[in-house]
Subunit: 424 residues, 4 copies
């Protein structure tokens, strides 16, 4: 690696490369390999964009075949064999069995674009401008979605007032004793609260960036009920928590809620290719042609791999069954970490888990020590205080075992280091 | 094709598929082939995202090799062999020979994301909120970039007031007799004009969506001078006009202007893969790590193909020389169309050309007739009044010849149809 | 009275005249007299703009003398004998004895103008745009102040999104068991809450329009402490609660808080003349000349009467002592009303009191019945559920006695009416 | 005078007192008298708030009588004898003879409040947010009106982005050779101009603060036609130019335009008392009661004096005839100044006139020299380059003669001073 090219030519905005200072040359399943031939277990999975692991052989094969055959690479939003096949698979394998009648809007291939489309459509269909988002929520970096993102550092990047969003406390945000639904209801019911009638509630069922906060089904049903009562739409941002991450395809399955819109991205393509979509109830589909568009909407390569992913992993419930078992593995692994750190507590749900170690400083040290030992893992939370496991869902039991062993070693090393500092 | 799947499951926002109602299965060079085996000459090129044509064999080969070798598909913004190679090639082949010291910011893989990053950075570095954009400008669909987009239909899609942008008239917007620099200067120099001091001027050297309006070098130098004088940055949006489209790699080369930032996307990957970047002067690079980020920033597949594209087409000036000749071919072809339509006039520059046929109705009929005859071509302009040629730059002389022949036939048919309607 | 002139020529925005459908010809002390010679006891006092009653004889005399002598009526913000005398009296009688070093900014003669000036200055001096206001707060109708006003009906009048303000729950807003300081602190301390760092907290010590909600000293000290800790200013809007209304000149005296800015209006002139001012800490006084101005800033007639008011009522503490006794009278009077209505409870503080009768319907009936019997009284609160007493502070014990007698009769009548409706 | 009280206790925002550093004790007709007994001819007239001069004897007498009789001083918006009399007089003397069917909305007693009400109503009735205002326009200091004000210094006082207004060039703004209607029409007709469909055009027939720029009748008719064609309302801000200032009661009379709304303030009360109103077409009067309100709306003292003013000056056309002759006097006086200064040119219309002396520096020197000689006069314009005459309309020929004599002396002194500086 020639690190100079990065300092010389890549913007200071680059970030993950700072935590993982090596150059990767290969990636397969849950293993990343760097230029020195070192293997790393990947507990980050492209921030949940690689739920099926790196370079799944079936997706690879299908994509190589598509390219070899001169299949369309870029087709704007014209009809292609691949788009038809994807839509058909998505309808048959995902929507129908779940009783969902949503339509699919092909947006620019990023999560933020799907969120922007949802926000625009919510405003357009309700004639209201305000959207309620939640503390610690993360929805993207473009100005519309950034307004709904809680993180102060990200918000300040906008360098001008953000508008059109009211932030209310997420489930559990003020501790277990405060039911934040009460506060939300109070703001909605009091006609002098200053809360403008919301076009929508925009909520992540599990907050990935915000610290792996998992909303309870009861709370989400409460939000759904408040939305309905107040003439607002329910937008469930499933960008990070969807596609099996919590154990089911959508993170909100079996919760008894029916979202009006679902922004999707990250693992939607299956192979880590840029791809995003917005699911929307048919009655909301008032878009005029190209009223919201984007050159790369509907990535054809991603149609190919996404279809393979649906057919391979979701046609029956074997994968989902497997996920339950892996979720327990992760819980046990993280419990072993939590047991080592005073006051630590588990966060998250399904295979989207973490351990709050009490401080960003410690969490960062743990991750740094883990990297030295061959594990790629990152922090999350408003203070970066959560060590977050977002391993590929296809990670084997052996890999989990090894990964958590490294994580324990890393935690031990980080605690020792902290103690030494404290002793000095 | 099963069109039902689209009406049943794809959002009404879909658009190009309405103009080209068939299903494509293959794409190579300048030819798209549909499921019936019909070949279409492509004069749209993914709205200039396929400047090197579909599935360039060298890019294909490199990409297939990369995938076959389990090269990284999704690496967030970690270092990879492919990123390093791309940055090095971009530095050596593009930046250095042009005396540019810009850094590259990897943004989400869409043009709008690059524009949003530029707008945020301009505000952040100047402490000013206002950005001057131009009539008929198009910069994207997310709320920040949408504010800079002129089109009323697109703007209304935002469904709430857009903010932070003042729109001033583009070069030639009010006809050849009005020098719009005077108006712009007046607004800037008059301290009571109501124009808030601009953080930046955001301008397309050629307006792709706005009607193929090409700014003169003199006008752009005037804007650059006004920016400098008023403490504002110059952002040249080269998303559609860049990567050879006007005959040089950047559309602003040889104009004597040095932009502070250059949003790039569309043909940057070379093969039509989602990829975008923001070039920025080093002194502006005050981003904190991840202050603006995005899961799909730095598409590794695109690094591979983009590097091949740079090495294949831009290492010496043979390609650029070829473009000059093709630009003349296009001009001649479009002149033959313009000669058929009363009052028609040529628009654009280089290989980003069109003919204003006076009405959107006629332009749309011409495009529809062309499609029937095997040519994919679209309109542009505030009233869709321009028949726009954005053929792959690699289109052969024979293909151009055939394409323009079809276009002449289509124009004739559309005019006949119009005359018949008029006669009735 | 010719009511036609009003329906024909006055805007539908008119309001109080609908509750009190007669035409007034005379006003003295606490008595308004209509054209038929009917006397009304005034328990509204121009919404607390007539704290010293109507046409105080000393103010009248001074004003008549001033006019007779051709004293300046309108002097923009030039120096006049009257302005000097007012400022001197305000310094000697109000500021110095209270240890306040605030400066006085002459703003346009309305409360909203004083609030707008305060909001602008808070943003200007802190470089932050966000201002925290509170549920049920009322600060004015112009777009800056309206953003800080909670009432949905008023807000909708703006007919576009209001910006720059976050609304958080006022003291007691969620019932006695919830300490809203916790929620406010949570939003401030969590860097991912989505609350942009506030330039200021804008708060009414007692919310006049919002339902006579009185913040506790402890809560206000908590807000003051949070403001200080977070680099935000404290703006205490004393427009309705100030000038003796709560028993002291300022409503926040003896609370141990030192506001950075205090918007004042309503009873500031003493006689009901349009007059407003903003008190601001000297270190905040960074205004450039006329940076915020207004043709009628510094009403000279009001300088005359305001000075008389200060000298007559605030030179020693006899008036303040008297207010304590009257506050008790009001409390007893309202208690007698509350005793008549199931679940009713007293609201407010000092001489700014009311009784929440549980529904806007009942409260309005009570006020309508009171008017029939010779008492002018209005409702307040998000649902107009509070019968509000804002009698002149100079109301005599007899007048209070008579007023409350009417109010009891009116309540009885309203309850009877309600019962009859219920029985039907 | 004790100047310390001002530096110690009045905000730095104070302004006119800096140009006229004395303390005034008396004011009658066109004469202000200071504490030393010096008389000043008033060519400023409270920025056109004293069109009938200071302390008109009939208005004084009526006001004293009203106060003496305990007439209502502050009546919120309840019916009073005085309001009825004012409305009746306004209908009979002003509206009916001019064929106007407008209703009167009593707003807070400042111009900015009337403008805010108009902007809100325009947005409410059209469902559009954007309002077109003009370069050099001045409409007030509260956040809604400030957005429509052009002056950069004033705008920056808002300390956050202002929204909802697009500024286009006023008549003549770019010199006599450019018809700015063309630019405005271009922005409106081009659906990709970026100009959001306007709710209203907000325009001053003569720009008082902006440099006494008088729009031609033709241009205003053009704006009216564009408004009509584009579904926008026409708001003529007559706050400074109205009430006889241009020679007729409204400044737009005899121009063939019918404004939808007319904000009025300044000289509306006749005597310089705070008073404002919004005239609005009956079909626009969709306000709900108190949807826009304000404690001091409908100043009863001002009703008294305003009625006297209407009856005294506007019942027949003798006053208006007189104004024509005085307009000529002013024109001759200012021509004599213009003749002394190279390149100077007359500005304005009627009795709202000035001379552009080419630089703010010279204009300020002239005004300072005039004050030394007993004349109160101010500058105007984006660069303060206009010496502005806003004398009371009741100024006698002798007073005008004497005033202009002083002005000529002052100009001579200022020019001499400038020449001396240049020589050094």
């Amino acid at each position: 690696m020639n690190p100079d090219i990065y300092t010389r030519r890549e913007s200071e905005a680059r970030s993950y490369c700072r935590s993982f200072p090596t150059s990767f040359v290969k990636a397969s399943g849950s293993i990343l390999t760097d230029e020195k031939g070192t293997d790393y277990i990947d507990f980050l999975a492209g921030c949940s964009s690689l739920n099926y692991g790196h370079n799944d052989p079936d997706m690879k094969a299908a994509l190589i075949e598509h390219i070899s055959n001169d299949g369309v690479t870029h087709g704007l939003d014209m009809h292609t064999e691949q788009k038809e096949a994807f839509l058909t698979a998505f309808e048959d394998i995902i929507l129908k069995p779940r009783g969902m009648d949503h339509k699919v809007m092909m947006v620019g291939p990023t999560g933020t674009n799907a969120v922007e489309a949802a926000m625009k459509l919510a405003r357009k269909t309700t004639g209201r401008h305000n959207i309620v988002a939640f503390t610690n929520g993360f929805h993207g970096m473009t100005m519309g979605a950034l307004a709904a993102t809680g993180n102060a550092g990200k918000r300040n990047g906008g360098a001008m007032p953000l508008q059109g969003v009211t932030h209310l406390p997420y489930d559990g945000a003020m501790g277990p004793d405060v039911n934040t639904l009460d506060q939300i209801e109070f703001m909605l019911e009091n006609p002098s609260s200053g809360l403008d009638a919301p076009a929508a509630f925009l909520v992540e069922p599990v907050q990935g960036e915000g610290g792996l906060n998992a909303a309870s089904a009861e709370w989400l049903r409460g939000i759904a009920a408040l939305a309905k009562k107040n003439g607002a739409l329910l937008i469930l941002d499933d960008i990070q928590a969807g596609i099996g991450r919590t154990g089911t395809f959508f993170s909100f399955e079996e919760m008894g809620i029916e979202p009006d819109m679902v922004p999707m991205a990250k693992s939607l393509s299956g192979m880590g290719l840029p791809f995003a979509a917005l699911l929307l109830k048919p009655e909301l589909d008032v878009w005029k042609p190209a009223e919201h568009n984007g050159t790369f909407r509907g990535n054809t390569h991603a149609f190919v791999t996404a279809r393979v992913a649906l057919e391979k992993f979701w046609k029956d419930d074997s994968f989902q069954t497997e996920l339950k078992s892996k979720a327990r593995t992760i819980e046990m692994g993280l419990t072993s970490i939590a047991d080592m750190v005073d006051g630590a507590r588990l966060k998250g749900r399904g295979l989207m888990r973490g351990v709050d170690v009490g401080s960003g400083d410690l969490a960062e040290k743990i991750c740094a020590e883990a990297f030295k030992r061959g594990l790629i893992i990152e922090t999350s939370g408003a203070h970066d205080e959560v060590v977050k496991v977002l391993a590929p869902l296809t990670t084997t039991e052996e890999q989990f075992e090894k990964g958590f062993e490294i994580l324990r070693d890393a935690t031990r090393a980080a605690l020792t280091e902290n103690n030494q500092i404290a002793a000095e």
